[in-house]
C-alpha cells in the first residue's frame, strides 16, 4: 500500500486496484459476522480452502471471510459471486458439494437455498429473497462483499472518495451544512440532529477539539454497531475524518467495549492501514489537515454508552454520567468541545458527502431521514440485521423481512430501542418506524434493537427482565434511578411471585413519573418505558397476575399450577422418575397425584408425559 501524497495519486491507485480485481472472477464469501462466527464459519472457510485446492480451483476462485450477510437465523451463510447465489445453514459437510455443483458445474445446490416459510417458494439469489429485496442498505451495503481487512477492496468500492470532495471542494462550514441539510439524526438513540451537534461544536470556543465514535453498544440482542465495526471499519474511519474536518478536530477516539475483541482488532488494523496510506496523520492528501484516531476500550458497562459517562471512562474516571449542561459539544473530553456520534451515524457520513445531502434527505420520512439498521430478533423466522428506510412499518419489518412468527403463532408485541424501549402492541403494527412515531406510542428508536414477541411471552415478565437488566447496569449516581430501579425490581418480583397488589401499579406509575423527569441521564429517564408501555397496553396481564394470581402466558413459574388428569393418566411413572423433589406419588398403573406443597413448578413432569395428562395452568 503506497502512501498517497495527492488525490490524483489515490485516483490512479483506485483504478489500478479495480483493474486488478476482475469482477467476473468467482468469489466465495463466507460470512464471519457476529451470528455466523459462533456457528462455525471459520471451519466452513477452512473447508472451502481445502475443497478448492483439491479441485485445483484455489488460484481461480477467491475465498474471503466477509462481514455480516444478514439473515443470521439461517447461518452459516455463504455468498457466491458474481452470480449472487446465497446459501444458508452451510456446514463443513456441505462444502465439497457446493464446490462441485456451483463452482465447477455452475449449478445450484437446491437444499441449501432459501425457502419462504409461508409459500415454500425457493430462491437462490439475493435479489429474490424478501428479506433482502425489501431492504435499502446504505450502512450495510458493503458488509457482505467486503474483506474487512483489505483496504484495497474498500478503495475499489469507492472508499475514501469523500476526502477528495471535502478537502478540495468544500469548506468545513459547507460540510456541516451538508450534514445538516441531509437531515441525519444521531443513530445512537436520542436522534439529535447530527449537523446541529457538529455546528455547536464547530462554533464552540477552543483551539483543541475532539470527536468520538461511540461503539459501546450494550443493548441485549443488538449487534448492528458490532457488525459495522467488524465488517466495514474503514467506513467509520472515513466518516470520522469528514467530521473532524468539519468541526476542526485533530484527534478522534473510538470507544469500543472489550467484549467486542474482533471489532477492536479490525478497527486497529484499519487505522494502521489508513495511517500507512496517509488518510490519517499529518497533512492528509496534502490538504494541510492533520487528524488521527485512537481506540479506547471500555469494560462493558451499559451506562458508558451515555455520552458523559463515556467521556469519563475515556478520561480514566468512573463511568458515571455528568449533569448537563454543559453539553459535550461545548465541554466534553478533557473539558474541550467534543462531538460524540454513534458507529452507524459515522458510517452514514461518507455516503452523504459522496451522493449529496439531497439524495439522503429524499429517503425516509419528513423528520427522520435516511435508513436505519435494526437487529431484528426474538419471535421471527428471520432474525438478523436489516436496514430499511425510515418510515417503514413495523408490519413490513416483522412480516415481510422477518418472515413472520415461527409456527404461525400470533404476534403480541415488539420492543424497540433496547432495554429502555417500550413494548408496542399489535394495534400499532402499521406504525411507520421513525424517531417521532415511536416516541408517540411510548417507545424509542434507541440504537435499533427490535425484539419481536408472540403469545408465549408474558409482558409482565418481559418488563421484569428489562428492569432487572437496567437495575444491574444503572451506575447508581442519582437517587431516582438507583433507588427507583431497586424498587421497581422488587415490585416486579412481588407481582410475578403472586404477591402483587393493585396499589403496586399506582406506585409504579408515580415512581416512573419522577424517574423520567428527575434522573440525571437517559438511562434513568428512559428506564420507565418498558414499565409504562406494558402498563398501558397490557394492563390486563398485570391484573391477572395480581387479582387472579395467574400468568396468562404461563411464563411466571411461581404462578403456575401442575396437576395430573386422573382420566388419562396411565400410571406409567415417567413423571415420578423425573420429579426432582419427589412430589408425585400414586400406585403404579393408576392415576398419579402431585403434592402442591412439595411441587417446585419445574415443569419436568409436563415435558416427560407421553399422554398429555399433566396439565399446566
Amino acid at each position: 500500500m503506497p502512501r498517497f501524497e495527492s488525490v490524483d495519486h489515490l485516483t490512479q491507485y483506485r483504478r489500478e486496484v479495480k483493474a486488478r480485481l476482475d469482477p467476473e472472477r468467482p468469489q466465495v464469501l463466507v460470512c464471519a459476522g457476529p451470528g455466523c462466527l459462533p456457528l462455525g464459519s471459520e471451519e466452513v472457510a477452512e473447508a472451502f480452502k481445502e475443497a478448492l485446492a483439491e479441485k485445483g480451483l484455489d488460484a481461480k476462485v477467491a475465498l474471503k471471510s466477509s462481514g455480516c450477510q444478514g439473515l443470521c437465523a439461517l447461518g452459516v451463510r455463504v455468498l457466491i459471486r458474481p452470480q449472487e447465489i446465497t446459501y444458508q445453514k452451510v456446514t463443513v459437510e456441505d462444502v465439497p458439494e457446493i464446490v462441485e455443483t456451483t463452482l465447477v458445474n455452475k449449478a445450484i445446490v437446491d437444499r441449501l437455498i432459501y425457502q419462504d416459510p409461508a409459500t415454500e417458494a425457493k430462491s437462490a439469489h439475493k435479489g429474490e429473497i424478501p428479506f433482502y429485496k425489501n431492504q435499502q442498505p446504505i450502512v450495510l451495503r458493503k458488509l457482505d462483499i467486503l474483506d474487512p481487512e483489505s483496504l484495497d477492496e474498500y478503495l475499489a468500492l469507492g472508499g475514501y472518495r469523500s476526502l477528495r470532495k471535502i478537502f478540495f471542494q468544500m469548506t468545513p462550514e459547507q460540510v456541516v451544512d451538508a450534514v445538516e441539510s441531509s437531515g441525519l439524526r444521531g443513530r445512537g438513540g436520542a436522534g439529535f440532529p447530527t449537523g446541529r451537534k457538529w455546528r455547536i461544536c464547530r462554533e464552540a470556543e477552543g483551539a483543541v477539539k475532539f470527536i468520538i465514535c461511540n461503539g459501546d453498544e450494550g443493548d441485549p440482542g443488538a449487534f448492528m454497531d458490532r457488525a459495522v465495526m467488524e465488517g466495514d471499519p474503514h467506513a467509520v474511519i472515513e466518516g470520522m475524518i469528514v467530521g473532524a474536518y468539519a468541526i476542526g478536530a485533530r484527534q478522534g477516539h473510538i470507544y469500543v467495549r472489550h467484549e467486542y475483541p474482533l471489532a477492536v482488532k479490525r478497527l486497529k488494523i484499519a487505522i494502521e492501514q489508513a495511517r500507512e496510506a496517509g488518510f490519517l496523520g499529518k497533512n492528509i492528501l496534502r490538504s494541510g489537515f492533520d487528524f488521527d484516531i485512537k481506540v479506547s476500550q471500555g469494560s462493558g458497562a451499559f451506562v458508558c454508552g451515555e455520552e458523559t459517562a463515556l467521556i469519563n471512562s475515556i478520561e480514566g474516571f468512573i463511568g458515571e454520567p455528568d449533569n448537563r449542561p454543559p453539553y459535550p459539544a461545548q465541554s466534553g473530553l478533557f473539558g474541550l468541545p467534543t462531538v460524540i456520534n454513534n458507529v452507524e451515524t459515522w458510517a452514514n457520513v461518507p455516503e452523504i458527502i459522496n451522493m449529496g445531502a439531497d439524495w439522503y434527505a429524499a429517503i425516509g420520512t419528513e423528520k427522520s431521514k435516511g435508513t436505519k439498521v435494526f437487529s431484528l430478533v426474538g419471535a421471527v423466522n428471520h432474525t438478523g440485521l436489516v436496514e430499511v428506510p425510515m418510515g417503514t412499518s413495523l408490519r413490513q419489518i416483522v412480516y415481510d423481512l422477518g418472515g413472520g412468527i415461527p409456527e404461525g403463532r400470533p404476534f403480541k408485541a415488539v420492543q424497540t430501542g433496547g432495554p429502555s424501549g417500550g413494548c408496542i402492541p399489535e394495534q400499532f403494527l402499521d406504525l411507520p418506524v421513525d424517531y417521532d412515531s415511536l416516541q408517540e406510542v411510548g417507545s424509542i428508536m434507541g440504537s435499533g434493537g427490535m425484539i419481536v414477541m408472540d403469545n408465549t411471552s408474558c409482558m409482565v415478565d418481559v418488563a421484569r427482565y428489562f428492569i432487572g437488566f437496567l437495575h444491574a447496569e444503572s451506575c447508581g449516581k442519582c437517587t431516582p434511578c438507583r433507588e427507583g430501579l431497586t424498587q421497581l425490581k422488587y415490585i416486579y418480583e412481588e407481582i410475578t411471585s403472586g404477591r402483587g397488589e393493585m396499589e403496586h401499579l399506582t406506585l409504579m406509575e408515580d415512581l416512573c413519573r419522577a424517574m423520567a423527569s428527575a434522573s440525571i441521564c437517559g438511562l434513568g429517564q428512559s428506564a420507565v418505558n418498558p414499565v409504562l408501555s406494558t402498563l398501558k397496553y397490557f394492563r390486563d396481564e398485570y391484573e391477572a397476575h395480581i387479582k387472579e394470581k395467574k400468568c396468562p402466558a404461563l411464563v411466571c413459574r411461581p404462578l403456575l399450577k401442575y396437576t395430573i388428569d386422573p382420566e388419562t393418566c396411565t400410571g406409567c411413572l415417567a413423571c415420578v422418575r423425573e420429579c426432582p423433589v419427589g412430589a408425585i406419588s400414586g400406585v403404579k398403573k393408576e392415576a398419579q397425584e402431585i403434592d402442591q406443597e412439595l411441587c417446585i413448578k419445574c415443569g419436568l413432569c409436563y415435558e416427560v408425559c407421553q399422554f398429555d395428562s399433566v396439565k399446566r395452568e
Partner: protein
C-alpha cells in the same frame, strides 16, 4: 435543612449580571452563579441534601430539582449545577417539582430508614411514611457522596470513592482494603449528614475505614492532636517540618 451560608447570600456581584425569573419574580444574579445560589441569595427555598457550599456540586440526590423553561418546553434540572441565564424561567415548587421531590424523599426513606435527617426533610414536604419496600431498617447512608468529595477536594487524598453500580453501590476504600492513601483525618465522618461513617478512638488509636492510626499527643499538654499520618501529610503539603505540628493549638 442545611443552614444558609453567608457566602451564598452576599456574594458580591462581579462583572456580569443577568436577570431571570424565579416563580415569576424577576431577580438579578451574577452570571457565574447556579440557580440554587441565585435562589437562596434572594430568599427562595430549595431543599438540598448532597449539596454543600464548600464542595463542588455533583447533583446526585436530585432533591434540589427545579423546573426550567416555558410552556410545553420545560424540564427538571438540578438547581445546584444549573447556571443562571438571561430571562431563564425557574419554578421552584411546580407540581412536577413537588412530585419528583416527594418520590425522591420516599425512596430515600426506604433506602435509609434510620436516617433522622431524611425523616425530618420528608416531613417538611408532607411525606410521613414511605410506600416503598424497606430492605434494611438500620441503614443510614443515603449515598450523597459528601464524604467522597470532602476527601478528594478538601483533604486532597481520595482515600474513599463510590464503588460498584446500583445493586451494590457504596462508599468504600479501593477493593475495600486498608487504604494507603487514608490519613485518618476523619473529615468524611465529620461531614456525613447522617453520621454513618464509623470511627472509634481508644488508647491513642483511631480506627477508621478498617485501619488503625496512632494519634500524636501534644508535646506540652499531652492531649491528642491528630493521627501521626495526618501530621505527616500536613508537613508534606505545607513543606514545614513535622516538628512544627507537634504542639496543639491550645498550647501554641
Amino acid at each position: 435543612m442545611p443552614t444558609k451560608r453567608l457566602a451564598d447570600q452576599v456574594k458580591a456581584p462581579t462583572i456580569e449580571e443577568v436577570g431571570l425569573y424565579i416563580n415569576g419574580i424577576f431577580i438579578r444574579a451574577d452570571s457565574s452563579w447556579t440557580v440554587l445560589q441565585a435562589a437562596r441569595a434572594h430568599g427562595f427555598e430549595i431543599p438540598t441534601l448532597c449539596y454543600h457550599p464548600d464542595l463542588p456540586p455533583e447533583g446526585q440526590c436530585r432533591l434540589c430539582v427545579v423546573e426550567v423553561g416555558e410552556g410545553d418546553r420545560t424540564r427538571l434540572v438540578n438547581s445546584c449545577t444549573y447556571l443562571v441565564g438571561k430571562d431563564l424561567q425557574v419554578q421552584t415548587h411546580s407540581e412536577r417539582v413537588i412530585q419528583a421531590r416527594r418520590i425522591v424523599l420516599e425512596l430515600l426513606m426506604a433506602r435509609a430508614p434510620a436516617a433522622e435527617l431524611i425523616k425530618d426533610l420528608a416531613a417538611q414536604h408532607g411525606v410521613y411514611e414511605t410506600r416503598f419496600h424497606i430492605d434494611d431498617p438500620e441503614e443510614r447512608c443515603i449515598l450523597c457522596g459528601q464524604c467522597v468529595r470532602t476527601c478528594r477536594e478538601i483533604v486532597g487524598v481520595s482515600a474513599i470513592s463510590m464503588a460498584n453500580r446500583t445493586p451494590e453501590k457504596q462508599v468504600a476504600t479501593p477493593f475495600k482494603e486498608e487504604s494507603e492513601a487514608c490519613i485518618g483525618c476523619g473529615s468524611c465522618a465529620f461531614i456525613c449528614p447522617t453520621n454513618v461513617i464509623p470511627y472509634t478512638e481508644k488508647d491513642g488509636i483511631r480506627t477508621i475505614w478498617g485501619r488503625d492510626f496512632e494519634l500524636q499527643p501534644c508535646k506540652v499538654c499531652g492531649n491528642y492532636i491528630a493521627p501521626k499520618a495526618q501530621i505527616e501529610y500536613w508537613a508534606e503539603v505545607t513543606g514545614d517540618p513535622v516538628e512544627s505540628f507537634l504542639v496543639c493549638r491550645d498550647c501554641r
